[in-house]
Symmetry: D2
Subunit: 153 residues, 4 copies
Amino acid sequence: MAKKRWFPRVSGAPEPLTFSVERQVRFEEVDAVGIVWHGRYPSYFEDARVALGAQYGLGYMDFYAQGILAPIKKMHIDYHWPLRFEDPFTIEGRWHWSEAARLNYEFILRNAEQQIVTSGYSVQMLLDLEHNLLVVPPPFYQEFLQRWKEGTL
Amino acid sequence: MAKKRWFPRVSGAPEPLTFSVERQVRFEEVDAVGIVWHGRYPSYFEDARVALGAQYGLGYMDFYAQGILAPIKKMHIDYHWPLRFEDPFTIEGRWHWSEAARLNYEFILRNAEQQIVTSGYSVQMLLDLEHNLLVVPPPFYQEFLQRWKEGTL
Amino acid sequence: MAKKRWFPRVSGAPEPLTFSVERQVRFEEVDAVGIVWHGRYPSYFEDARVALGAQYGLGYMDFYAQGILAPIKKMHIDYHWPLRFEDPFTIEGRWHWSEAARLNYEFILRNAEQQIVTSGYSVQMLLDLEHNLLVVPPPFYQEFLQRWKEGTL
Amino acid sequence: MAKKRWFPRVSGAPEPLTFSVERQVRFEEVDAVGIVWHGRYPSYFEDARVALGAQYGLGYMDFYAQGILAPIKKMHIDYHWPLRFEDPFTIEGRWHWSEAARLNYEFILRNAEQQIVTSGYSVQMLLDLEHNLLVVPPPFYQEFLQRWKEGTL
């Protein structure tokens, strides 16, 4: 539902790449009211973003090694249910297909009961090292998209 | 522009309450690429949110003292320009009028050149201590809204 | 060596309780110079402290359930080698025997090459909920010490 | 008292350089028990360290501009009293004289009643950009020491 609004699926586009990370709420992440402070969630999203990058061989440092920066331009978080100290939870990251020079990630956090506790997304733009926006994805990334499309990642 | 989309101004509604906080980028807020890590911005927003609450006598603890929780349900951040170590910047908080039991805050960060470097918003819902959503704002908050409307805050 | 200075072993005292946690450096933990910012290590120590508590059934919340607070009174960190983004490392926690109303923890971080990269300790005091220092350990904790001594934890 | 033990004053050495920073406890710094989480204090120490560097023209970036790294090798914190949300406090940084290639900082946090709530120290070593320990302080730093001694900083 929500995710459909965020990154509408273009007909013919391949399925999102997904990866999930298991976590447990740390003491320092909880606030004075006893729930995870809302500002910690970007850090949970990052865990899934990094894991997705590692899983598919295209993380921050892989881009950087190609002379590409991928800064975050937009982030959105919806908080449905709180998490508390020591609660186990799962962060599902979904990398949505785009042919543009941008990375569209969606995040879904679920508690032990599989309730969606938090969801959101981030958008990254691809820049060269002089911080110029790339209009066209660079060759190594186009090749990555090609393999994604063919299902050979 | 953006802010108009986020919290459209109802005709006849009073002006937003505003407050600005001066800050400087701390060493620990900067990432390996030399810019403020995107996940620190909720903490900057919080600085303005707390300052707005203190300025108008209606912060987290004031709500709590009235038996009301005000958890964040939604947060959005747009990143326009990076900030670097020791950069001074201003966080402007704008509390937008709403007659519902919700708090609509908008945030605008500007660097020393008065460029907008980051903007965003958060939405808080008002709950009682049993975590039931309040449909109608509680009396002390209605009184606050009344004084806001009259310009006597 | 260092650890002997921190918590000298009393003759006849039982061996420390130990537990190790596997971690990997997260992007947000790294500073502008490309190494883990020194101020993140208390958070690594906490990971081992919480894991030790969970392993032996005596964590923050177990103390709290008995009407006991266990705040940290002292912390020390020695930095030997840096850690970098995505470096895997191990945090070994060692709970050193003490018959007093205090918790003596030692922490040893090792990188993938088993080098000690960081070491340190923390001391916690046991307080009642009115924040009075306990002179004598409470009964449930004395029982815990007894089982520790007998090797039946 | 404590500080004398940490960095004993050599006879004839100039007085420490001092600088104080005013702060207020932020919401995210407070833990589930309602006090500042012990692991936030390195960040308070850093505020005073950076302010001292700025005050005397010799911060991280000034060293770096001279091809010198100044990583933290040792940190110690004693926790005397807790701080709570919105508590104002002062961080006094004291830069203690040393003729060696090391930076000795002491930190004293006081609450509004001027009670010492936390104290501690850090030691930094000076390295060249290949991470070799400097045995002798570099010329620009020797000159700094000279002006410190003459009271002309």
